[in-house]
Symmetry: C2
């Protein structure tokens, strides 16, 4: 029997090393190739935290997860601590901390359970109007002034109307639509959604803003269904840049056309150019 190990699972692996007073401590490692200019991508770190929360609670799916990012994380070992806030019938609510030595890297508050089979009742949101995967624009890891190691492990295929920023011509609309999939064809599960919500270029790259690291202060993900297939159709929009901060809203759809996640983040706005 051949067991395939996908790169996402290797790179987000966590190992329990201690358990005390209901708190589980895990060791983990930030891998190379999941970064933006040397610092681990926020979605990648959130997926790693998610795996620790999944193991701690024994519950499969994130329902709603909020991460506050406190310090950047280059490649290397770190620790994750998870404790239970409340075990309920529907969800287990947990608090989680990621740290490296004395340095807090991120803090997470989230609720995990078992997502019911999808019975959409009302969905007025609509999937993005994307050309086929093949007709969308590849993006390589050389972002020009900065390097996107993450693209070695997460493929972006952008809507041609939204990818013009790559050649220096922002579209003028703070929108970024496209497909996401793993280059080794790993199927998408609810854990991978935690990565996906932060794995495309900021919509603000399509306005005259500096292109570079956009530091996330806080990211909240609502998982809305167990995804099927290997590709996600994604749509991200920024509708408010104000007081030096931006909001970015995401909607993610699976191959069956089901809305599988909503996301929103607050980030520090880059400089106008």
């Amino acid at each position: 029997m051949l067991t395939v190990t996908f790169r996402f699972d290797t790179a987000t692996a966590v190992t329990p090393i201690a358990q005390k007073n209901g708190l589980t401590t895990f060791s983990a490692e930030v891998f190379d190739g999941w970064d933006i200019t040397g610092n681990a991508n926020g979605g990648y770190l959130l997926a790693m935290m998610g795996r620790a929360m999944q193991q701690h609670s024994g519950r499969r799916d994130p329902f709603t997860v909020t991460a506050h990012y406190l310090a950047p994380a280059p490649a290397g070992p770190l620790e994750i601590e998870v404790d239970t806030v409340k075990t309920g019938k529907l969800v287990t609510t947990m608090n989680a901390t990621m740290r490296r030595g004395d340095r807090n890297i991120m803090r997470v508050l989230g609720a995990w359970g078992e997502m019911a089979a999808v019975e959409p009742q009302i969905v007025t949101a609509t999937p993005p109007d994307l050309p086929s995967y093949e007709q969308c624009t590849s993006r390589n890891s050389d972002g020009g002034e900065f390097t996107i190691g993450l693209l070695q492990n997460v493929t972006n295929r952008l809507h041609p109307d939204d990818s013009t920023f790559i050649s220096g011509t922002p579209s003028g609309t703070a929108q970024m639509r496209g497909w996401i999939h793993f280059p080794d064809d790993r199927p998408i599960d609810t854990l991978a959604l935690l990565l996906a919500v932060d794995a495309m270029p900021p919509p603000l790259f399509n306005l005259p803003y500096e292109k570079g690291w956009v530091p996330t202060l806080e990211l909240t993900v609502h998982v809305r269904a167990v995804p099927v297939g290997k590709r996600l159709a994604c749509s991200f929009r920024t509708k408010v840049v104000q007081g030096g901060l931006l909001e970015e809203d995401g909607e993610i759809w699976d191959e069956s056309g089901t809305l599988v996640a909503l996301s929103r983040q607050m980030a520090v706005a880059p400089r106008v150019v």
Copy 2:
């Protein structure tokens, strides 16, 4: 000199009773008249938590705050504990717990700082198209099958197109727009925004769902500007009801037409009727 004490400030007062290892413990009290059928409104509890976080950190404004609701809270005394996760230049990140005896009522993760004077750069969101305050529909505290004590302390004036559910004729669109203000004319500040994001009827009341308590699992608020004036123009929408859970998105504008808050919550969907 006459000092006016507004009811919101009295009802959200917190008193520090202990400080140890960077953790502040506050005593507080859930007042009557801020409830839905006897259980305190989630926005009211979040404002109370917010006041404790404001006092603990010495920082004025919530930037992004996430609450997980763990148990209902009828009127009566309770305790709030706040500890600092990280003190940064832009924000202080805090963890807060509300409990009554051994029972956890809510858990909050939030970042507080001083919101910059508003220099809107991009705002593609638009204020709701509301008739004047006088032309909007009053809502009294008798919700028919349930009692909305909260309306004794927070005035709702609903868009006439969205208030038809009151007389048993839902509009058919999961939308709820209207004005919010305090009956004692308390000016709106960033703390009051934490209440406002959960102080209007659920948009789902305008679809054929049971009208009653809609338990919030998680609520995240992004404060986007320091509000001016005494009235807020609000717009709430639900675009996804799936797997027994709903999302509700809010946009809140002040009297000067500035977008002052964005909110999103995940709640348990009521039954279809």
